[in-house]
Structure formats: structure tokens, C-alpha cells
């Protein structure tokens, strides 16, 4: 049985009061993200651990060769699996209980990642086709949530997309009807074709005044913050997740109820998110570039060793 995250009234009013004065408990500004730390596995392809403050997520991408779906013979398979287990926090329980609040959260997160990455076509599934209608790659991303301090959506989206960009599938050659797979040592593995990099940004909304003010008032002074911690997430009155890429394309957007927010405020959020996404994309790309360089040198070093012998 999962425990509910209980916050005392005292604590929640304290956090809210602080937010009203533009102070967050960890000293950040309202619209400032925590430090994003991406750890790419140095000795294998497609495994990353991403952490945002205390929140931590691991993602592994793997692939195998299967038969494509009959109605889509030219497309490979791509699926994202995510399961929130009690490993990250005692508030979650393993297995699905159909009606609990947690499974709702989990459902929203997994649907969101699915929409952000799969539906938006970040991975070119047609490039995964080997022989039309016969053989194709099936790529699978497994998400594991390691530690929970709020903002699972943003971080898991980053984790999946970085892992996908980093992953290399073994090179192959088609010889008539046979497929020859090459070992990583034999031939340099090929990267997946990633069409764009979607990044999720989640906004949390807080209402300094009452519900009525929110519905009827004109002041629009709802508090907005990004990258919330667990505590902030639990007391938030509504959230909105935007998924954007560097081309200024909105891949997905969901504001599931909660506080009523003026359209102009939402547009402002979009502009802000756009800026953040640019920064994050650059960061991810430079990181991957550095990693790629270090890897190449590693390979050369290995060759060097062979030569020496």
C-alpha cells in the first residue's frame, strides 16, 4: 500500500507565502530550472542517467530485429516503457491498481512522453525498416525512475531523447534474403535517425487569491513556476506541460484542468518555454558531441593497443 504524501497545512502555507514573495525553498527564482545533469554511460551505447536536482531517471534504449506490423510494412517499431516503482519514492506502489491516484499520474506521464516523442515523430520509424514487410528494427526505450523530487515529465522526456540520440544500433548488410549483422568491434554501429529534439517544460500554477478571484477577477496574478520540487508539485493547483523543439514547433501541449489561466499568460509561458528549450537543446547537443569525441578516441586507443602488440 502506497503512502500518501501528506503535507501539514503549516508547511503548505509557508511554501505558498514564500512563493508569493518570489522565493522558493531551494533559493531559485520562480522561473529557474534546477541544474540538469546528464550522465552518459562511458562504455555502452544508449544508457543515460539524468538528474534534475534530486529527481533522477535512467533510460536504456535497446533494439532487436522483428517483423513489422502488417498494416505498416515500411515502418519499424518503437515503444517507450515506463513504470514508476516504489524504488523512487514510497508514494508509489508497484503494479497497477486501476483506480488509485498514482496510476492516474503514471498514466499521464507515460501518455505524455509517448505523445511528446513517439507521436511527434522524433524518431524516424521508416528508417528502422530493413526489408519492407519482412524485417525491421524494434527500438525500445525503458525508463526507470530512480529518485523522485518532482517534475518527472520533463526529466523523463530529456532522458528518453538523449538516450535515443546516443544509441547506436549494430550495422548490418543485406545479402539477398539474409541479413548480416556486424558486431560493434567489426564495424562502427550506426546512430538512429532523430528528426527533432522535443523537450518538455512543465509549468505549475498557484493561486495567491481565492478560487472566485481566479474565475471572475481580472488580475491574472497567478504564480507560475517551472521545474517544481515534490513539495511544490503537491501543493500546486494546476499544471501545464508544453513540448517544444528547436524549430519552434509545438509537439504536444496539455493543461489538464486546474487553475484557470488567461490565454495571454499561456502565450507568455510558450515564449519562455521556447527560450528554455533552445538552451536545453544546445546543452544536450554539446554534451553528446563531447561524448562522441571521447568515444572515437577510445576506439583509436584500442586500435593503438592492437598495433602495439
Amino acid at each position: 500500500m502506497a503512502r500518501d504524501f501528506d503535507i501539514s497545512t503549516n508547511q503548505s502555507t509557508f511554501v505558498l507565502e514564500a512563493l508569493k514573495q518570489n522565493i522558493r525553498l531551494d533559493g531559485r527564482k520562480l522561473l529557474q530550472m534546477r541544474d540538469l545533469d546528464i550522465h552518459i554511460s562511458p562504455d555502452e551505447y544508449g544508457y543515460v542517467e539524468v538528474s534534475l536536482g534530486k529527481t533522477k531517471v535512467a533510460c536504456r534504449v535497446s533494439s532487436e530485429i522483428t517483423k513489422p506490423y502488417e498494416d505498416r510494412p515500411f515502418e519499424g517499431l518503437f515503444q517507450i516503457k515506463s513504470e514508476i516503482s516504489p524504488i523512487c519514492s514510497p508514494f508509489f506502489e508497484s503494479g497497477l491498481t486501476s483506480n488509485s491516484k498514482q496510476s492516474n499520474d503514471e498514466l499521464l506521464i507515460s501518455r505524455l512522453i509517448e505523445k511528446a516523442i513517439r507521436r511527434s515523430g522524433a524518431l524516424d520509424v521508416e528508417s528502422l525498416c530493413i526489408i519492407a514487410g519482412e524485417k525491421c528494427w524494434s527500438v525500445r526505450a525503458d525508463l526507470q525512475f530512480l529518485d523522485y523530487d518532482g517534475n518527472f515529465t520533463d526529466i523523463s522526456c530529456i532522458a528518453v531523447i538523449v538516450a535515443l540520440m546516443h544509441y547506436r544500433k549494430p550495422d548490418l548488410e543485406i545479402d539477398g534474403d539474409d541479413i548480416v549483422l556486424f558486431n560493434v568491434d567489426q564495424r562502427e554501429p550506426t546512430p538512429l535517425s532523430i528528426l527533432h529534439i522535443p523537450i518538455c517544460i512543465t509549468f505549475q500554477f498557484y493561486n495567491p487569491n481565492g478560487d472566485v478571484e481566479n474565475v471572475k477577477g481580472d488580475s491574472n496574478d497567478e504564480l507560475i513556476l517551472i521545474d517544481s520540487t515534490l513539495l511544490e508539485e503537491k501543493i500546486s493547483l494546476g499544471s501545464m506541460t508544453l513540448t517544444l523543439n528547436k524549430n519552434k514547433e509545438l509537439c504536444q501541449m496539455i493543461k489538464s484542468g486546474g487553475l484557470n489561466i488567461d490565454a495571454s499568460v499561456i502565450m507568455n509561458c510558450c515564449i519562455l518555454a521556447n527560450k528554455l528549450v533552445d538552451e536545453l537543446t544546445d546543452k544536450i547537443q554539446t554534451l553528446l558531441k563531447i561524448d562522441a569525441l571521447s568515444r572515437k578516441s577510445g576506439m583509436e586507443r584500442e586500435l593503438q593497443v592492437v598495433n602495439d602488440r
Binding site: S98, N99, S100, K101, N104, L107, L108, S110, R111, K115, R119, S120, G121, D211, V212, N214, V215, K216, L237, G238, M240, L244, K248, E249, L250, C251, Q252, M253, I254, K255, S256, G257, G258, L259, N260, I261, D262, A263, S264, I266, M267, C270, N274
Partner: protein, 249 residues
């Protein structure tokens, strides 16, 4: 012509509408007076939805009794169920009871209405909403949202305001209001829910890729559309209300 022309150069859509034209919107209230506290029927073009509301009551009816049993001390427990039978679409397709897309919509709607119901009046109660889709021709979420609003009003549940929703698509920089299935299949669209006559959005859902620059145009057209739908719903509520009053006297 092999490819459908979704928007002709003259500015006519596939079903003869202009870009800013709603489909025929019909609604009825109190359609099922004996089995529910509030009920509504909403028809937007060929999309038809029935919504039944039970409650506020002390506990869930027998069907869901196993589930969330803990009552909330700050507001009602809202349980929303969408029943999407196989005959509702052009192509007969059986949906599992736990279809993830529908479940997601349920969660979205639930969160949306929890903020709209004057929740402090209904602490420690349960409100159960059941939606049956009779026929779907685009705008599933919008239809459901409008139907729930009407059914809740019919049930005499206190709301801060109407929530009216509409879908808006994008065709070559041109926003199209109230999409049908053909348009939904080919174009990317968003669904927005607006509170009353304000510009405040309660609900935004976009599942397809969309240039960010066009978002503003879509939302502003959508808000206008929602206001119009709110007006139509309001007329219907008044009509039914005055009718009821005349019967009482």
C-alpha cells in the same frame, strides 16, 4: 479527385463551412430524469454524446464501489467515465475498457471540473459522471466537456461558471474552428476549454505537431468559438429552466 480538399481557395471547408463556423450545436437537458440527477445530450454536427450525472451522494454506486473509497475532506470525489461503444465510429472498432487515450481524457476532464465545481459545498461526497458517445465525428473531448457542463448544471451542482470547449485545427496558417473527423485525421488540432465569458483557459490539449507561431491565432479563434457555445448552452439552460418554472406554477 483523389485527395480531399480540406479547404478550398474560396475559403470553404470540406463540409461547406467557413473557417470560423461552428457545426450545428444542439443540446438537451434532463434527458434521463429517472435514472440520474442530471443528464444532458449534446450534438455537435454528427458527434453525439449523452452524459449522466449521479450525485452528489455519499458513496459511489455499486459499479465502482471497489475503487477510491476514501472521501475527500476538501471537496467532492469526481469520477468520470467515458463509454465509447464500438458503433460510434465509421469503422466498427472495439475499444478496451481501459483504453489509455480515453482514460487520459477522463483524468483531464476530472481535473478540469474539480476546479469548476464549487468544491467546498460538496466536501465528502461523490459525484459520478458517465458519458456515452453515441456517434463521433470529431471533437471528442470538446463534446464531452460541454455535455458534462450541461449535465452538472442540470443536476443542480454549483459551478463557478460554464466550461465550454471546442477544437481548432490548423490548415496552412489558417485556423479552422470545430473540426470534423476528416479534418482531424489530416490536420493537427488543439482542444481548448474556456471558463464562462472570460479569456481564461481551463483546458488545453494538443497532441500533434504545430508551429508555435500559429498557436495564438488558434487560441484566440477558439476562445471566440467557446464563447458562442457557452451562449448556445446558456440559452438552452434558460429554455429548460423557464419551462420547468411554468410547470411548477
Amino acid at each position: 479527385m483523389s485527395r480531399l480538399e480540406l479547404y478550398s481557395p474560396e475559403g470553404i471547408r470540406i463540409d461547406g463551412r467557413r473557417f470560423n463556423e461552428l457545426r450545428q450545436f444542439t443540446s438537451q437537458l434532463n434527458t434521463h430524469p429517472n435514472v440520474s440527477d442530471g443528464s444532458s445530450y449534446v450534438q455537435q454536427g454528427n458527434s453525439k454524446v449523452i452524459c449522466l450525472v449521479q450525485g452528489p451522494m455519499e458513496s459511489l454506486s455499486n459499479t465502482n464501489a471497489g475503487g477510491a473509497s476514501k472521501l475527500d475532506h476538501n471537496g467532492p470525489i469526481l469520477s468520470i467515465n467515458i463509454n465509447y461503444p464500438p458503433f460510434a465510429n465509421n469503422v466498427r472498432k472495439k475499444r478496451m475498457r481501459n483504453d489509455r487515450r480515453l482514460q487520459e481524457l477522463c483524468v483531464v476532464l476530472k481535473r478540469c471540473f474539480l476546479k469548476t465545481i464549487v468544491s467546498k459545498n460538496y466536501a465528502r461526497t461523490v459525484i459520478e459522471v458517465n458519458i456515452t458517445v453515441l456517434s463521433m465525428d470529431g471533437g471528442l473531448l470538446a463534446c464531452c466537456c460541454n455535455a458534462i457542463t450541461l449535465a452538472l448544471i442540470d443536476a443542480g451542482i454549483a459551478l463557478y461558471d460554464y466550461v465550454s470547449a471546442i477544437s481548432i485545427g490548423l490548415y496552412n496558417q489558417i485556423p479552422l474552428l470545430d473540426m470534423n473527423t476528416l479534418e482531424e485525421n489530416d490536420l493537427s488540432f488543439i482542444t481548448i476549454g474556456v471558463v464562462g465569458d472570460s479569456d481564461k483557459l481551463n483546458l488545453v490539449l494538443c497532441e500533434d505537431k504545430l508551429p508555435l507561431d500559429n498557436l495564438e491565432a488558434l487560441i484566440s479563434l477558439g476562445i471566440e468559438g467557446c464563447h458562442r457555445i457557452k451562449q448556445l448552452m446558456d440559452e438552452q439552460v434558460r429554455l429548460v429552466g423557464t419551462d420547468l418554472l411554468s410547470k411548477k406554477q
